[in-house]
Amino acid sequence: MRLTCPLCGDRDSREFSYLGSATLSDRPADDAPFDAWHEYVHLRDNPAGPNAELWHHVSGCSAWLHVVRDTRNHQVLSIRLAEEGA
């Protein structure tokens, strides 16, 4: 699998590490109810299809990337820097 880092270009997946769902960026407010925190920390959708994920270009520029990947065939539908927001 290959990912196109917005800063570095097309790279082999070995340069990246995978964190998980992009919902990890949407951290609840400090005083949010426990249910919201429980969901944030523990619960993930498991779609067969496009999934927004966080990848770290750990052996490259160290950028965190927001990647939309189709879980059925690993097709990468979009990549942007995570810090650029939605």
Binding site: M1, R2, D12, S13, L24, R27, A32, L54, N73, E83
Partner: protein, 976 residues
């Protein structure tokens, strides 16, 4: 038997080799199989299960039978296909899976038992007692059934792995692949042209048909050479593309030096390539399929295309008297070519009635089937049955069989693509777009004529070039034969008795498939697993489609409705040595060495792994015979004088920005924004689920400049986490992070005399430098950083210099320490010192402990990561296992890390478990074993005596719960 003329062999270059100890000779250009056939050897192996005598079936990588051990000693490679092994001078080959000899194999008794050994035999027979599975049944079965033996020795040759990039990867250098590569090369694209053979041409190498008036192989060689001259083309002969992976990545195995006795100096034997291609064209050709009829597995029965490949390419007569049995026009060529080479063709047997095969010096038999064969170690006769049902025996020593051709579409299945049945050509063809960016051309697509394949290669290349933004050139298609063969499907000869083989390598017969069907294993995937059809090193290349045909007949359905099993990588077997190239021994993991490593070597210091770092464990002195002696001495030395320890491996992260302080307040459980410049604070990091991630120190060098440290083991994890926080959680904060672990060499100087040591070393007097101070200093003109922090409980410093001065600094510190009665200390003493002080490492911060478990609950403040979820009911309180100190009750008793804790006198069973021991040392200060551990409600149990239970090691002991730290609880030495 070698023919007088012809063949792509160099008759001026004879090569001697040995097979099962006998001398033979062949020529440059031979494969092991062609040279053996030339030497009159037909019996080349024994089958996997029944030990049936077997000869060569094919002339390529699809070979199921002729598997051999090639090479000697540590270079012996099992299961080498004789059909792809190029001959070299001195080659040593041995047949396998036979005892005592290939011609007289004791294992063939299993063939007599065959009526009892059908599909599912093992499942049904070796059921009980269960205790026999691993000890009796498996070793027995493994010895009886099997393939070659590994040498068991270390591979003396190196393998390599490499990466390549291209615009277009062309897989296969036959007519379609060569035309595709030519188009792309002329268009200016970067092209990789890979072929598993040592010569280009694919099927052209084995045929007599001409291309543009020249022999096909000559046309291919000329074009290949021209392509190789172009700077944008990389030809890769002897390279099998083995797998298609996501994002246009392909795996490929290059056999760099398997065509010679040993690799040339500094060259690898194999190279495993990862090829990143923007587009790819699969032009892998097609594989011929056999027909099932009774005793179709005797040596001398081979594929028709293979028989004429041996005659045309290698000038080898596969036999003296040959019959051809075919269900398609392509088989006719075998009769024509063998006869043209002067080999006697006794009969051309076509299963089809109403076709008119070419006339020749052979008996024409249409509407006729082969129904049986004779010959124990090699074919002697075949029985035919004509349309009127009349049987007759025909004396031949070779039968060339063709059941048609299957497109080699394997790579299109590697990403879940399912082939489609094409009833027009009676074969599976690739699903379109089965692998993104991969087009299929030529015979792999079902274009079976030479010119059709060339046109197909051109057309697919044009499409690929357009997609890549290249202008496709206009190139005429060469003149070549353009008649696709006609075919009537024939999977098994009907109305026969006797075992008819489908899968030669795994010994699966028509009867086995019928049995699977009768026992209701009717899905193809179930049938495959029940009969093991298609499971061995050839992955059913010649067997699968025939078995599907038989299943379809049994079920009374079409093959299209039966479906097919899928093909997975690799296309052909890959040595583990190639996949793991460079990853054995020192290559298994990176070695990170601290700046003091050279000094440690000089002092004979053994190293201990800490993450990827190799740190000095202790520095033995003359006369010390046990590590404990050195460790105890070093620990006492620090407490009494001064010690120097390399702590470079601890993670160091530089944090800068106007929001750096606010950022650290969020990522640390405790507050950092109140820290004054020039001061250091202990910091605890939690994860958002409320558990502890790591601890370390945070030094404020300026209002917007911090350096934080992490534990050695968690340095990478903490860096990634902080980047995540900065980029994903709070991108609006102005903060920048850089890992500076390798940039700074850092040494701890600990002990009552540490101030004397440091003060004399710096360019300026140290002055007042209280506990937890930090600042910039200068050592012989080199800018350095000084931190007054301690991991030993002693008055201590850590001094950091740019990494290139690390070795010099460490030696200077040790020299000075020795004049003060001190010296270097290693990881063992460092561990003793920190346990005596109750300080934590990842033995305690193991991912399941909370701040409250560690007695640090009050540090955690609102607004920091982890504070919210740590409030959950289960994560604090008296029923949690809490950090405690443990002291051996008997002065001589030993404690073990990992041991469990139970109340004194309680039953030593899991249900009574109260906690566990994490860190243990013998304390020179307390003159006994001490430990850190976690004990249920531990903070309320000070003074209690517990039983230490260790079912893994001997050494039952008792320990008393004591307050932490064990040593200098007021911390007077720290601040002194």
């Amino acid at each position: 038997m070698r023919l007088e003329t012809g063949g792509l062999i160099d008759r001026a270059a004879p090569l001697g080799f040995r097979f099962d100890g006998r001398e033979y000779s062949g020529f440059q250009g031979d494969t092991l199989a062609s040279a053996l056939l030339a030497g009159g050897v037909r019996l080349m192996g024994r089958s996997f299960k029944y030990h049936r005598p077997r000869g060569v079936l094919s002339a390529g990588s699809d070979e199921p039978n002729a598997l051999m051990e090639v090479g000697t000693g540590a270079r012996r490679r099992p299961n080498t296909r004789a059909t792809v092994q190029e001959l070299y001078e001195g080659l040593e080959a041995r047949s396998q899976n036979r005892w005592p000899s290939l011609a007289w194999d004791a294992g063939q008794v299993s063939d007599l038992l065959a009526p009892f050994l059908g599909a599912g035999f093992y499942y049904k027979t070796f059921m009980w007692p269960a205790a026999f599975w691993e000890r009796v049944y498996e070793p027995l079965i493994r010895r009886a059934a099997g393939l070659g033996r590994l040498s068991g020795k270390r591979d003396p040759d190196a393998c390599d792995k490499a990466f390549a990039h291209c615009d277009l990867l062309v897989i296969g250098a036959g007519p379609a692949g060569l035309m595709a590569a030519l188009m792309a090369a002329e268009a200016g694209a970067r092209v990789i042209l890979a072929d598993e053979d040592c010569r280009p041409g694919g099927r052209l190498l084995a045929e007599r048909e001409q291309v543009d008036g020249a022999p096909g192989h000559a046309w291919a060689a000329e074009l290949w050479d021209a392509l190789a001259q172009m700077p944008n083309v990389t030809p890769m002969p002897r390279t099998t593309v083995t797998g298609a992976y996501d994002g246009g990545t392909f795996g490929a195995l290059e056999r760099v030096a398997e065509h010679m006795a040993r690799p040339p100096e500094a060259a690898p034997r194999l190279t495993f390539w990862r090829i990143a291609a923007r587009r790819a064209i699969l032009a892998a050709g097609a594989l011929e399929r056999p027909v099932a009829f009774p005793h179709n597995d005797r040596p001398g029965v081979m594929l028709a295309g293979a028989a004429r490949a041996y005659a045309n390419r290698w000038a080898v007569a596969p036999g003296r008297r040959v019959a051809v049995f075919t269900n398609n026009d392509d088989g006719w060529r075998t009769a024509r070519d063998l006869s043209a080479q002067g080999i006697e063709v006794a009969a051309l047997i076509d299963s089809r009635a109403g076709v008119t095969p070419p006339e020749g010096p052979w008996q024409l038999m249409t509407g006729t089937h082969v129904t049986d064969t004779r010959g124990r170690l090699g074919l002697r006769a075949v029985q035919t049955r004509d349309g009127g049902g009349r049987h007759r025996w025909l004396e031949v020593d070779t039968l060339a069989v063709s059941g048609g051709w299957n497109p080699a579409l394997h790579l299109t299945c590697h990403m879940n693509g399912r082939p489609r049945w094409n009833p027009a050509i009676h074969a599976f063809v690739p699903a379109s777009d089965a692998v993104p960016g991969l087009d299929v051309a030529g015979a792999a697509l079902g274009q079976f004529s030479t010119r059709g394949a060339m046109k197909s290669g051109q057309y697919r290349a044009r499409k690929a070039l357009e997609a890549l933004g290249f202008e496709p050139p206009s190139i005429p298609v060469p003149n070549a034969e353009d008649t696709p063969p006609r075919l009537s499907p024939l999977w098994q000869v009907p109305r026969t008795r006797g075992r008819a083989w489908l899968d030669f390598q795994n010994d699966v017969t028509v009867k086995d498939v019928a049995l699977a069907h009768a026992e209701n294993f009717r899905s193809v995937e179930h049938m495959k697993r029940y009969t093991t059809l298609g499971m061995a090193t050839d992955q059913g290349k010649s067997a699968n489609v025939g078995a599907l045909g038989v299943m379809a007949d049994l079920a009374g359905r079409e093959i299209a409705q039966i479906g097919t099993t899928t093909f997975r990588p690799p296309y052909t077997p890959i040595d583990i040595a190639a996949l793991g190239a460079g990853a054995d021994g020192r290559g298994f993991a990176p070695h990170r060495l601290p700046p003091s490593h050279a000094y440690g070597l000089e002092r004979g210091a053994p190293t201990v792994e800490a993450g990827l770092w190799h740190r000095a464990a202790y520095y033995p002195r003359e006369g010390e015979t046990h590590w404990r002696e050195s460790c105890d001495r070093e620990a006492r030395m620090v407490r009494q004088a001064v010690g120097v320890c390399d702590v470079t491996s601890l993670g160091k992260i530089d944090v800068q920005g106007t929001d750096a302080a606010a950022f650290l307040d969020r990522v640390y459980a405790n507050t950092m924004s109140t820290l004054k410049p020039g001061r250091v604070r202990y910091g605890l990091m939690l994860r958002d689920d409320g558990f502890v991630m790591d601890d370390g120190t945070c030094a404020r060098l300026g209002p917007e400049h911090f350096v934080v440290t992490t534990t050695t083991a968690a340095a990478g994890q903490v860096m990634a986490h902080l980047e995540f926080c900065a980029q994903c959680l709070w991108p609006q904060l102005d903060v920048a992070l850089v890992s500076v672990t390798e940039a700074w060499a850092q040494c701890a100087i600990a002990g009552p005399k540490s101030r004397d040591l440091v003060d004399g070393l710096l360019d300026a007097p140290l002055g007042a430098f209280p506990f937890m101070a930090c600042g910039e200093v200068s050592v012989r003109g080199v800018g350095a950083r000084l931190f007054r922090i301690s991991f030993s409980g002693e008055h201590a410093y850590e001094l950091a210099v740019p990494a290139r001065y690390g070795d010099a600094l460490f030696r200077r510190l040790v020299d000075r320490a020795e004049t003060l009665g001190g010296g270097p200390y290693g990881m063992e003493a460092l561990n003793v010192l920190r346990i005596e002080k109750g300080l934590l490492t990842h033995a305690e911060l193991h991912g399941r402990t909370t701040a409250d478990d560690l007695g640090l609950g009050r540090m955690v403040k609102p607004g920091s990561i982890g504070h919210r979820m740590r409030e959950r009911a289960g994560l604090s309180g008296r029923w949690r296992e809490q950090l405690v100190g443990l002291e051996a009750v008997e002065p001589g008793a030993r404690l073990n890390g990992g041991a469990r804790l139970v109340a004194a006198g309680a039953a030593q069973v899991r249900q009574m478990d109260q906690g566990y021991v994490t860190s243990v040392c013998w304390s020179p200060q307390l003159d006994r074993y001490i430990a850190l551990g976690f004990l249920r409600d531990g903070r309320n149990r000070t003074g209690e005596v517990l039983d230490i239970v260790d079912h893994m090691r001997s050494g039952a002991a008792q320990a008393q719960v004591v307050p932490l730290p064990f040593f200098d609880p007021e911390g007077g030495r720290l601040r002194a």
